[in-house]
Structures are given as structure tokens and as C-alpha cells.
Symmetry: C2
Subunit: 508 residues, 2 copies
């Protein structure tokens, strides 16, 4: 057995759960389009007008100089940059429509773009929660557990940032310990933060070492990703721009996500929020391509609305659902991959969290979202990551993967003879057609309980979130670290030790 196959088998076994195997997910169905092409063009044209007349603030002088040199129009304040529509249209032409993201285990590589969908672990929660111990501030112990869960769950394709912020680690070296742990505990695609040049450079270098490749190979094989959020409206800050430059120069993918909450950081109309989202995304794409034409960049969409009573962000709303579908159409207009999210505003891993998530997942799927960030664990508008919600999400997303298996209509599937053999008023339980297929005919759930009421009651009336609690504990109990070449691990550790000695990265 080849080393790679052994690795995969070990990984599957260690999951301790009768789940579907790790597999890329591809949507074979048509796109759902809720806007006409005229409406898409109207949003496109409006966002070009915004970039031409209002422009966007770039808070890093180096970035402004890069844009000025490329031909953009810079204000006397040295911050505001305005873009000619033709300049925008020309620069974004080099954004790749599809690329491969490489994991240290090649069986866990993913494809980003076209009809492929990547489900990413939750990122950046300040708090962790579970139904036994409740909510606590982010810490490294919870961080490690969530990485282990992300590794154990096959439908979780990649890491998606720090699932929870390990605030008990010092700020200057936190990224070193956090990425070091990602590498050790998971062999899926890595994630680094665009918080200044040093942190981003360290993440890129660690990704290179973890994969055991040289710098030249890294330049042609994206191996780590990051998210760059705009400070909406129309602003990109200094550390984010530094991160973007570092990633683009190394040909590593940036998910450029405008933070366009309608009624707060964006206009209160969905169309207006989309115009602003599109303007910011286009500006980010232009910047990335000016730094390095052809560098992978993903159109990020996060347009939702705030609760106008409290100002709190709401997610998984009808507005969010429509924004996702429109965002997919906009990204396809430019032929670039796009990112959505599986999000909700519930304070518990309850029914609200579930239906708001479904109001996020379905539109993501229908619009062929390429990267679904926060696929596992998100609660509270992003302020917490929940152990139980990770499992609820795993069930929902496994179901979507099964939903994407097209209905077969060959002669045996149409079953005309089987129907005739059974005949009116009988049943199919014992028919040869059933017996030859029953073991793998249907989706097999990991969380859903299909016992009848009496058996369910006799077994303690355990509801879904309580069952999820048992499942994540069992996953952690049976978890095994994925194999890694000891020489590589030693190089990772040595790099981290050296960078710590150097003082890590400056606080922001």
C-alpha cells in the first residue's frame, strides 16, 4: 500500500463516525439566478461609478504607490484612490477562474472555482461554547479541539482560520503556535491571517515547510489562504493591505470580503449594499492583480442586514439569502471564484441556529458558492464557535453533498420490471431489485435519529443537540494525529523557535 493511501485510510478510521469519505464536492445542477442580466449590469455599472467618483481609501502608503504607478488616480491626501472603469475591467481580467489549493496531505487538496464547493471550518470566533460548560473566552485548549474536529470530519474540507481566538497565547507569537498546531493536528489546507507583513510571511513559510516543497513550487501551488476584510465602507487598512501584498507576491489566494452590513456599513437597500460590496471587491481584485497579475483572489460576499431595532447584525435572513444568490451571479459575471458563509445570529445551537444556517447553506449551494466560510460551528453572528453546532453543520452539509448526486435514469433505475414483478398491493422489501441495492441506496445520517417515538423515548428522549454533544466527544476521544514526516515536523518546530527568538511579529 502506498504511503499516501495508508495516510488516507488511517485518517478515515480515526474519525470514529460512520461518515461519508473525504471528497471534493461539485454541484451538477444549474445555477439559481434571481437577478436579470440587466440588473447585474446595473449593479456592475453602479459599482464602477462608485470607484470612479467616490473611490476607496487605501491606508498603506506602499499600496497607494503601487496603484499610482499602475495608473490609478490618487487624491492629494495620498489615501483616496479613484479608478477609471476601463482600468478596472482591464486589471481584473487576469484573476484566475479556478485553482487548486494544496494540503500537506495531497488527498485533502481542494479545487476552488467553477462548480466546486469547499466547506471551511469556522474562523475567528472570540468565544467557544458547548452545552456542558457554556461559553468562555477563546483559549488554546479549545482551539486545539476544534482543529481536531475539523480534521476528523470528512465533509470539512479545510481549516478556516483560528476556529476560536487563543487569547491566552501572547499576541506577538500567537500565529506561530496557532499555525504550528494546525500543521500538527490536521493535514488539510492551512489558513493564515493578513495581520501585517510578518504574520502573513510566517504563515506562507510554514505552509511551504509543512508541504516539504521549495519556494518555486510554492509559487505555482497555492498552499495557504487568508481573508482580507475591507473596513466598509470603501476602505482597506494597513495590516490587511500588507497581508494582501505578501500573499499576492507569493501567488497565494486571498478571499477579499467586503463587510457590507446593509443599514450600518453599507446602504440599507440590498441593491445598494451589493453595489458597495461589488465596488470594494473589484478594488481588491484590481490591487491584487496590480501586485501580481494572475494571483488567485476570491470574490467575498458577506452582505447581510442589521436588526434596525438594536443595530445588531442578522444572518441567515431572507435578505442574506438573496444577497448570496446575487453575489454568485456577480462573481460569475467576472468569471472569478466566490465565497459565501454558513452563518446565523442565534445565541444557542438551537432551532434558530439551524434554520438560519439553512437559509445560508441553501442559497450558497444554489448559487454554486466556491468557498463556504464558517461552514462548521458558527453561532451568535460570529462571536462564538459551538462544539455541537460543528456536528449539526456536518450533518446538514453531508446532506447537501448527497443532494448533489444526480438521479440515475438508466433502465434498471427506472425499475419497470421490478414494479411489474411486485405488482399492485404488494411491497418491495424483499424484491431482488431492493435486495441488490439496499445497503447503499440512501443517505445515511450521522446525527439524525429515525427510530420510532417509543424507542426514542425508551432511549432517553435525546434531542439533536444533545446527540451532537455525544458525537463531538466521541470524535475527540477517537482522534489520532495525522502522520507527518518527522523531518518536516522538526523543520516546522525549528522555524517557530527561531521566529519566537526573533520576537515574533509586532502587536498591531
Amino acid at each position: 500500500m502506498a504511503r499516501r493511501e495508508r495516510k488516507i485510510n488511517r485518517q478515515q478510521r480515526s474519525a470514529g463516525l460512520a461518515q461519508r469519505p473525504f471528497a471534493k464536492v461539485r454541484n451538477p445542477y444549474p445555477y439559481m439566478e434571481i437577478l436579470s442580466s440587466d440588473q447585474i449590469e446595473a449593479i456592475h455599472a453602479a459599482s464602477l461609478k462608485v470607484l470612479r467618483d467616490t473611490g476607496m481609501n487605501f491606508l498603506l502608503p506602499e499600496a497607494v504607490e503601487i496603484l499610482r504607478a499602475a495608473g490609478a488616480d490618487v487624491d492629494p491626501d495620498g489615501v483616496r484612490v479613484r479608478f477609471d472603469p476601463a482600468f478596472v475591467e482591464e486589471k481584473i481580467r487576469t484573476v484566475p477562474s479556478r485553482f487548486e489549493l494544496h494540503a500537506r496531505n495531497p488527498a485533502h487538496n481542494v479545487t476552488v472555482g467553477d462548480d466546486w464547493t469547499v466547506f471551511m471550518l469556522m474562523g475567528s470566533a472570540p468565544n467557544a461554547t458547548d452545552i456542558d460548560s457554556g461559553r468562555r473566552t477563546g483559549n488554546f485548549a479549545d482551539y486545539l479541539n476544534f482543529i481536531r474536529l475539523g480534521q476528523s470530519i470528512n465533509i470539512c474540507h479545510t481549516i478556516g482560520g483560528y476556529p476560536v481566538e487563543p487569547v491566552d497565547l501572547p499576541v506577538t507569537t500567537r500565529h506561530l503556535d496557532a499555525i504550528g498546531a494546525m500543521i500538527r493536528l490536521s493535514d488539510k489546507v492551512l489558513y493564515g491571517y493578513a495581520l501585517g507583513t510578518e504574520r502573513m510571511a510566517d504563515a506562507i513559510e510554514l505552509a511551504r515547510i509543512a508541504r516539504g516543497i521549495d519556494h518555486e513550487t510554492l509559487l505555482s501551488e497555492p498552499s495557504v489562504m487568508t481573508v482580507v476584510n475591507t473596513n466598509s465602507p470603501l476602505q482597506l487598512d494597513r495590516p490587511m493591505l500588507q497581508g494582501m501584498i505578501e500573499m499576492a507576491r507569493h501567488n497565494q489566494p486571498v478571499i477579499l470580503t467586503p463587510f457590507t452590513l446593509a443599514g450600518a456599513m453599507a446602504p440599507i437597500t440590498i441593491a445598494g449594499a451589493l453595489v458597495q460590496q461589488n465596488a470594494e471587491a473589484l478594488a481588491g481584485m484590481v490591487f491584487s492583480q496590480v501586485v501580481n497579475p494572475g494571483a488567485p483572489i476570491i470574490y467575498g460576499s458577506f452582505t447581510s442586514n442589521v436588526d434596525m431595532k438594536s443595530g445588531a447584525p442578522a444572518f441567515g435572513t431572507p435578505e442574506f439569502a438573496r444577497s448570496l444568490l446575487a453575489s454568485g451571479q456577480l462573481a460569475r459575471r467576472y468569471g472569478v471564484p466566490w465565497r459565501g458563509s454558513n452563518v446565523n445570529a442565534s445565541n444557542a445551537a438551537d432551532e434558530q441556529a439551524t434554520y438560519e444556517s439553512m437559509m445560508s447553506i441553501w442559497p450558497c449551494m444554489l448559487a454554486h458558492c466556491n468557498m463556504v466560510k464558517h461552514s462548521f460551528g458558527w453561532l451568535e453572528g460570529g462571536l462564538a464557535v459551538s462544539y455541537e453546532k460543528v456536528i449539526l453543520d456536518a450533518e446538514m452539509l453531508q446532506m447537501m453533498a448527497a443532494f448533489f448526486e444526480p438521479i440515475e435514469t438508466d433502465a434498471d433505475s427506472l425499475a419497470i420490471e421490478a414494479i411489474d414483478q411486485v405488482g399492485p398491493g404488494n411491497h418491495f422489501f424483499q424484491s431482488p431489485h431492493t435486495m441488490s441495492r439496499y445497503e447503499s441506496a440512501f443517505y445515511s445520517p450521522i446525527l439524525s435519529d429515525w427510530q420510532n417515538f417509543e424507542n426514542w423515548q425508551d432511549a432517553g428522549s435525546v434531542e439533536a443537540t444533545q446527540r451532537a454533544n455525544r458525537i463531538w466527544k466521541s470524535l475527540l476521544e477517537t482522534y489520532e494525529e495525522p502522520p507527518i514526516d518527522p523531518a518536516i515536523l522538526a523543520e516546522v518546530d525549528a522555524f517557530i523557535a527561531r521566529r519566537k527568538e526573533e520576537g515574533g511579529a509586532p502587536p498591531l
Copy 2:
């Protein structure tokens, strides 16, 4: 103020909940199609073959005679009927593609067909449940409460049968008391059961009296509906056929629903189960049109799968989702309205109930389902109706109605000037564009709690199903009977009294 307007206002006020007003729901988006037209034709052709070669059992001699007289081929056993494909294609041509269903309050009429969607209250649960008192056998007190809830919830368009079976009422007169209560407690579209000629005839006559119309008007204005389930595979029983004849002769709509659980009463393949569903639905449509060409009939789809471990039916599965989408395509091929369901297999109104429901609701919406049966309250594969689930469903379906509001892209919605006025790095909270729109800009939930975690915790950490518990109680507390003409009510009561004196309807 006209009497009708007063009625509506009183009804809205009595709801005791800041909900959307009663309104027909129309899907403005394109259909989702997961099968190619070749695949649809393959299923169509296969089902015609089944009807020609295997045929279908009709267990009522009167029905067999009707079909024989129309030209169908009857077996010497007098039960099995075989249909020539050309005969099927010719007969189903008269099925109406759209019709209006009339309520005793005309403001609560609904349109069935095209892109209209009707959300129906749960029907036929043997048990009722709530989180305070748990599960109990169906009874008239719970029956009345669920009818009251269906009346109070604006997104609930029609009654959908007995929400729970009132088994404490005698079997011979149960239908009289049950429909009498529907008429008194609700002014939405009525439902009767196809359990023999007498019960169906009583339901039709009560619907006529409740609307205060004559027989001739009833014949042109469908006012009560029923479901006819096949005894799959390929069989229609005596009481159902009697009900069908009665409904068709009075031009009242029948929802013809094959009970095709893949692996049990239908082939284990989705395509095979769809072939059988389609054959049974076509046979039902043919029969209805032979009895009365042009009588409204709805293509029912209920194809799901069983859990192959236990034989228990599963709902809201990936297989169910794909079957719904395929069923929509099949119904559109024939140009007939179609029925789906909001169903799940969970034993509690928990997260599983919620995500399995969403795996039912979304495909129904995407395939432009015309009648969503069991929209409110279904649990346990149909064995229980839940008070809390009614409210969970109301929130989910209200969100779908809001999702169907198209994104506006007029100049003011695109907000180019608002974006320019606010400018980079600021916020939109106080902008005139926001202030002029904030009151009605976004969907306002009835159940979702968007408070921040601290406030939610201070308020007792109440989760969604517990909040749903408070809401249904408040709806019942504030419930008021909708107004009814005392002369009509007297006629209803007199009819019921007379039919009880006559002994009601025979037990089945």
C-alpha cells in the same frame, strides 16, 4: 368600512403577533430543474408502460365500470385496469392548470397552480404534542386549538385536514363535528376526507352552506379539498374512489398522492419510485377526468425513502429533496398543479426537525410547489402534530415569503449617491437614505431572537422551541373566532344535527 374589510382587520388584530399580513405567495424566480428533459421523458414513458402492461387495481366496482365505459382495458378479475398510453395522454388534457379555492372569507381565497404556493396546516396526525405536556392521543380539544392556531397564523393559507385525529369523537359523526368546528373557528379554505361517499358529500355540502352559495355556484367555485392516497403500489381503495367520484362530480379539487416510499411501497431507486408515483398520479388524473372532464386535480408527490435498517419512513432526506424537484418537473410537463410537503422524521421539535423541514421547504420552493401540505406542525414522520413546530414552521415559511420579494434595482435602491455622501470609513446609520427606509427595510422575525448574548442570557437563555411555546400560548390567549353570518351558522348547525339524527356516515 365594508364588512369584509372589518373582518380582515379583526382577524389580523386577533393574531396577537407582529406577523406579515395574510397574502398569497408567488415565486418570481426561475424553476430549479435537476433532471434533463430526456430524463423526464424517460420517466414519463416508463410510467405509461407500467400503466399499459402492469396496470392498476381499482377496488370499487363502480369506478371500474366508469373506466371500462370510457375505454380502459379491464382484467377478467374486474379489479385490474390497464391504460393505453394514448388514452392517458388524451384524458389528462382537461386537467386545469390553475384554479381558485374559495374560503368563506373571500380575503382568504387562494390560487392553486402556476407560480402560486399555498401553505396548508398539518393534517391527519394521530397524536398531539407540546413541550409542557408531552405526547397524547389525538382528541377534540387539541384539534380545536390547532384549528385556532391555523386561523391565527397569517402565513398559514388553508386548513389541511384534521390537524390531529379527534378519536374521542364517534367515528360515524366525527366528520360532522370536525368540519363544523373548522367552519366556526376558521374562515380559511376547508378540507374534508375521502372516506366513502357520505363523508365526502357531507363535507361538500357543509362547504357550500358555510359560503352561503347555491349548488350551481359551488360547481364553478371549488370550496373544499381532499387528499386521495393510493395504496401503493398501484392500487386505489374503495372509500378513496368513492370520495374521488363525489369530489369530481362536484368539481371540487382532489390532491392525488401516491404513497411511494422507496424501498417499501415503491422501488428502492429514486427514478423507479418516481416512475411508480407518476403512473399512479396519471391513473388518478385519468379517473378524475373520466368522471368529470375539467375537474380540478392536483399531482401529489410524497416520494421519500425508508430507513433500510428499521423500515421506518425518512423525510427531509437528500432523496426526498431530489424527488420533490423531479416531481415539480413532472407536474409541469403535464401542466398541472402539484403538491409537496414540509416533513421530517424527528421525534421532537428540535434541530433535526428543523433541518429536515428545511430540506423539504427549500426544494418545494425551488420547484414552485403549488400546495405544501403539512406546512405547520408535522413531526415523527406524521405521527404527531406539535404546537411548537407550528411556530417554527411559521417563521421558516414567512422567511420564504420574504425571500420571494425581488431585489429592486432602481436608481434610489442602487444608492450611488448615498454611498458617495457617506464616503469611505463612515457609517450609514444616520444617512437620509437609511432614515427614509429603516422601518420596513428588512424582514422582521416572529421567533428569531437577535439580541446579543449578554441580553439573551439575562433574559433567561430562552431557546427557540421554548420561545415558540410562549408564542402559541399567546396566540391561543388572544384568539377570537372570525365573524360569521348567524343565519349561516344556524344552517351549518341544523345540517349537522340532521345528519347526526340520520346516523352520520357508516364506519369504514
